[in-house]
């Protein structure tokens, strides 16, 4: 009996599913949207706004207590205020901190003698770093001003009202029982489409027709894939889009690639993978030239650079998409750009990507989740809303070295995307600071000391 009911229900659901999936594919082919996702995003924003008022605020007595305390220290602590401001308006941070926080050692400008109390300044900076630093928090999920009804961002909102809990339950049902199955179906179709179309294109001979065809099918497949995350992407300044050369972007998640590929075709550069990712890589490589190298080759930077150079010199080849941070950052900042790609080309097309964190965290915390977990997390979020800015191409100045050029591009991206511009290496996610970095504050302090 139950079985029959289930089958009946399934077949009843079958038709709408087919219709929706077909609609998605047709729309993706034309590259248009009928505004369902936009309307959905607007609705969600209203829901979030409503929940904001439901999250309890601390009792007034306690709050008074703290503000009093805060006022007291405010006058003294202009330092951390300045830091805060920096966060708020990332655009002014073009002159990025080179000594990472310790540069403001406030011993005054003039030379002074050593005092026993000098350790206090170091202690204060140390404690400030312990309670909140600019680097490690970039490697974990971004903090939200209000809760977006996803359990994983709930950390600070552990006390919920009953109505909020009910709302969360409904949300959970919608996300896991309705959205997720649809999205998985669509993603599956998208990937299949990509593999099949590239397989066919692979048979064609190199010609402008092949390139056109590849562009068409690639855009289409990625647009289907993008709908698997309910991606609502706004592209700005499309006139600056790269036609060839090197395109660099800030990196939040592997999904960045899908986002950018919805609007333009890119050649990708990276290590050859095995498994499912390898299948995708090989099929992509059939249709157009990508730069995949073996693990053993990756060590040979010269070889990679040569292949990159020969790729960009060929005007028929697609622009290469590079994430010079070398790791995923949590969508609040841009970290050090590796200089490699900036040595190869003197013209760079910068792209800034900024996700709207309210709809789901796009950041891939690779030390916590693997690839599939990350994709599942994104697909079970509300949506993937993001802005993409194409910046005008930047040219290396005369007597500017690759590092300075990379920094300049980085700060432009940070400015455009409203991200904090950091000089720290994203590699700190896995490694500790190099010993030699300690010497910078030491030198600074020594310069301030009067020595007889």
């Amino acid at each position: 009996m139950g079985e029959q009911l289930l089958i009946a229900a399934l077949s009843f659901l079958f038709l709408p599913v087919i219709i929706v999936v077909a609609l998605v594919i047709i729309l993706a082919t034309c590259g248009t949207s009928i505004g369902i996702r936009k309307a959905y995003v607007k609705l969600m924003l209203k829901v979030f706004e409503a929940c904001k008022h439901k999250v309890p605020v601390p009792s007034p007595g306690e709050q008074d207590n703290d503000t009093e305390e805060e006022n007291e220290i405010k006058q003294d602590n202009t330092l951390s205020d300045a830091k805060q401001d920096n966060e708020d308006q990332a655009d002014k941070s073009s002159s990025s901190p080179s000594v990472k926080g310790l540069e403001q050692l406030d011993f005054g400008m003039s030379k002074k003698e050593f005092e026993l109390s000098d350790v206090m300044t170091f202690a204060k900076f140390g404690m400030e770093a312990i309670i909140d630093d600019t680097v490690t928090k970039r490697f974990s999920a971004e903090e939200l001003p209000s809760w977006n009804l996803l359990t994983r961002t709930q950390k600070d909102h552990q006390f919920m009202s009953i109505r909020l809990t009910a709302l969360w339950c409904v949300g959970c049902f919608v996300r896991y029982a309705i959205l997720l199955p649809f999205r998985i179906t669509i993603a599956f179709i998208g990937v299949m489409w990509l593999i099949i179309s590239t397989a066919f294109i692979g048979y064609l001979r190199e010609s402008s027709f092949k390139r056109k065809l590849n562009e068409f099918f690639s855009l289409m497949s990625f647009r289907i894939l993008c709908r698997a995350f309910s991606g609502v992407i706004t592209f700005h300044n499309r006139e600056n889009m790269a036609k060839n050369g090197i395109c660099v972007a800030n990196h939040t998640s592997p999904v960045d690639v899908i986002i950018l590929s919805c609007d333009n075709c890119y050649a990708m550069i990276g290590q050859s993978h095995g498994g499912f990712l390898g299948v995708i890589q090989r099929s992509l490589a059939r249709a157009t030239a990508h730069i995949w190298f073996e693990r053993s080759e990756a060590k040979d930077r010269g070889l990679v650079a040569r292949r990159l150079k020969s790729h960009i010199e060929d005007k028929n080849k697609l622009p290469v998409l590079i994430f010079p941070e070398g790791t995923c950052i949590n969508n609040t900042s841009v970290m050090m750009f590796k200089k490699g790609s900036f040595e190869v080309s003197s013209v760079i097309y910068p792209v800034a990507i900024k996700y709207d964190p309210r709809f789901g965290d796009a950041f891939w915390n690779s030390s916590k989740h693997n690839w599939t977990q990350h994709l599942l997390q994104i697909m079970s979020s509300w949506a993937l809303v993001c802005d993409v800015w194409y910046l005008p191409p930047m040219t290396k100045l005369e007597n500017e070295d690759a590092v300075a050029f990379a920094n300049r591009v980085k700060s432009e991206i940070a400015k455009k995307g409203g991200l904090v511009d950091l000089d720290w290496d994203g590699g700190l996610k896995r490694e500790n600071v190099k010993e030699s970095m300690k010497e910078v504050p030491q030198e600074l302090y020594s310069k301030m000391l009067k020595v007889d």
């Binding site: 220290i73 951390s80 926080g101 202690a123 300690k438 010497e439 310069k447």
Partner: protein, 189 residues
């Protein structure tokens, strides 16, 4: 996801509040920071957890600052209570506050003193002072020059001529320093 270390209990918050004077919002916030630093979800911090903070790792006195936490906990790990007790030293001082002693001037001075006094004998010896000086300046100033700085400093504050700086002498030397301001940081809610 579910394996995340347990949430902070209400009574624990109250206990910490009483001990350290932090507001419950600050405690919840710092707890979330604590769990973020605790990379392996062990419920306590190790030295490596601290030094993973780059800004602390490049601090010339970073080791000494971290050391303070372990001295507080008296073990090789730091739990949340220890963590909070050390941080409480850096709470801004309120004028009419008598119930909490962790952030008064003496505690702040004690903290600074202990940054020098590595062996814990309540004396800063010339060697201990030189050590700290060396950490702060690295290779930029010669040992001889550092030696003369150390000698000068000790002779200035050493009242009983034992060539060491006792805590009392240290307090005396700090008489005109605005310790309350220098050793206070802002804790967000």
């Amino acid at each position: 996801m579910g394996a995340r270390s347990s949430m902070l209990q209400e009574d624990e918050i109250t206990a910490i509040q009483k001990e350290t004077g932090f507001s419950s919002n600050q405690i919840v916030r710092l707890y979330s920071r604590f769990t973020n630093l605790d990379k392996n979800n062990q419920g306590y911090l190790s030295r490596a957890d601290f030094l993973r903070i780059p800004e602390l790792a490049i601090n010339p006195l970073g080791d000494r600052i971290v050391h303070a936490f372990f001295k507080e906990s008296n073990s090789v790990t730091v739990n949340f209570r220890d963590f909070m007790r050390v941080l409480a030293r850096f709470r801004p001082v309120k004028k009419n506050n008598t119930k909490n002693k962790l952030n008064d001037r003496e505690e702040k001075l004690r903290f600074a003193f202990k940054m020098y006094d590595l062996d814990g004998d309540d004396m800063i010896s010339r060697d201990e002072l030189l050590n700290v000086l060396h950490m702060m300046v690295g290779a930029n100033i010669s040992d001889e020059q550092l030696g003369s700085i150390a000698d000068r400093t000790i002779s200035e504050v050493d009242l009983d001529n034992d060539q060491n700086i006792s805590f009392e002498e240290f307090v005396k030397a700090m008489e005109r320093v605005d310790v309350e301001q220098k050793m206070s940081i802002r804790f967000l809610n």
